[in-house]
Symmetry: C2
Subunit: 246 residues, 2 copies
DNA sequence: CACGATAGCGTAGGTGATACGCATAAAAGC
DNA sequence: GCTTTTATGCGTATCACCTACGCTATCGTG
């Protein structure tokens, strides 16, 4: 059997035989939990090894016995912060994927910093895999090949993660300067978009799409999310149609 | 007229009246260019203020006369690194958006670090807006409302950016350990995916979707990209159908 | 030619990651 | 119970970076 690298086994909490030696007063899971708490409360920037250690009442360097580097800690956080996936209503794949998407966005939104961490590599942690599985399960009754299911779910994750990032950034900008935010953006566009050079964009700007509170509005963000999601789901439906008719 | 914040005007290179005083030997554009060169050659991590300054033969702190912070420099880079958008073949929106998507991915791929920088906020730089405009122009002959066009193009950008990030990460992992990369992933999945807990994922793993070089393969990445893109485009087509038939 | 505004940049402070090695605690073996 | 073994806790020290501040050099203007 192939030897698995420690950064992967760590995610699953496999501990070979810690028989001898001093009893650890800390586990990687503890550290991850504390780091997530700090990030939730004060943002990702506040997560330093020293800060996390202080949270646990330990010295900074103690953490390095359990975590190879800060990057590894971040990787642990991206798995640890996810809720377990919901049970999907069986039957219609579309309803299933919609439920799934809404649930994953809800899970993301509990941890605003999630959009900022760089995911490195394919899903491998327990929670990530559980979500992956649940997404695939929504497509169970379709005639798709396994590889196609993977492509669809991966694509959806990609899209949702991007959407999260975008909404997070807008929320950020809005929080920093609520009143000016959309005004400034609209003003900047009006100032720089030359109808001769960017006619399509100019038309949009003129139509007032970016005006005032149109840009940032909780309601609208939800609507945008649904719009894009449905586009993607429509695409899946079309693909299924095309596939079964040939 | 609303006063625009300097970080925005800087992107457009508006300089009010730098009449008096010493002549600048450096411009924000120079700095951006140098930073991009460093990132291209040695990765984003190599971009430090000191390194960029050295590249220009200046002292570190000289940069701060032209750029408020490193974050601002990164923002400038994300605009400066983009090629100008291509001229799209008129007529069919689908061909237009496909051309556009492929071109933007090609532009991204010249700068692998692009996937790593955190975009902060809606597109506002000249190149970003040019791309935005060009994307919108592909939808010009459709009966969509302006807001819908924006939603569609934004969604597409979101998806493409995510796709870029994913492929970058895979390429990264592959580069670090070409032989082991997919083997380790497949092995890890086989080890941890319990068919009782994650039946759908187990089925996929058993089907060999993640085996050996299936996971990372230039050919496959391109195919995945096209698959996802077409899903999204199918979704747009379906939306157009639904819309015109009611 | 003196003045004032602006660019260049040296110094220094602060933050943060992390290598290294020793002290310490706990199990294993006698 | 005492020694040996082994892993943990963590103090010290280093290194890399960002950036505030203020001085000096330079150039247009009157």
């Amino acid at each position: 059997m192939t030897e698995l690298p420690p950064e992967i086994t760590l995610l699953w909490g496999v501990r070979e035989t810690p028989r001898r030696g001093r009893k650890p007063s800390l586990t990687a899971a503890d550290i991850t939990r504390a780091a997530i708490a700090v990030a939730d409360a004060e943002g990702l920037a506040a997560v330093s090894m020293a800060r996390v250690a202080a949270e646990l009442g330990n010295a900074t360097m103690a953490l390095y016995r359990h975590v190879k580097s800060k990057d590894e800690l971040l990787a642990l956080m991206t798995d640890g912060a996810l809720d377990p996936p919901p049970v999907l209503p069986g039957g219609d794949w579309r309803i299933g994927l919609t439920t799934w998407s809404e649930a994953i966005m809800a899970s993301f939104q509990k941890h605003p910093w999630y959009a900022q961490v760089t995911i490195s590599g394919p899903p491998i942690g327990p929670n990530n895999l559980a979500w992956f599985d649940r997404g695939l399960s929504a497509l169970e009754d379709t005639p798709l090949e396994e590889g196609e299911k993977v492509g669809i779910v991966m694509g959806l994750i990609t899209y949702l993660h991007g959407e999260l990032r975008l909404s997070f950034e807008l929320a950020e900008g809005y929080r920093e300067n609520p009143e000016a935010f959309s005004r400034v953006y609209a003003a900047a566009l009006r100032r720089f978009v030359d109808p001769r050079e960017m006619p399509a964009l100019a038309k949009v700007v003129d139509a007032g799409v970016f005006d005032y509170d149109t840009l940032y509005d909780e309601q609208d963000l939800g609507a945008d999310f649904n719009f894009g999601l449905n586009l993607y789901l429509d695409g899946i439906a079309a693909y299924l149609d095309r596939r079964s008719s040939t």
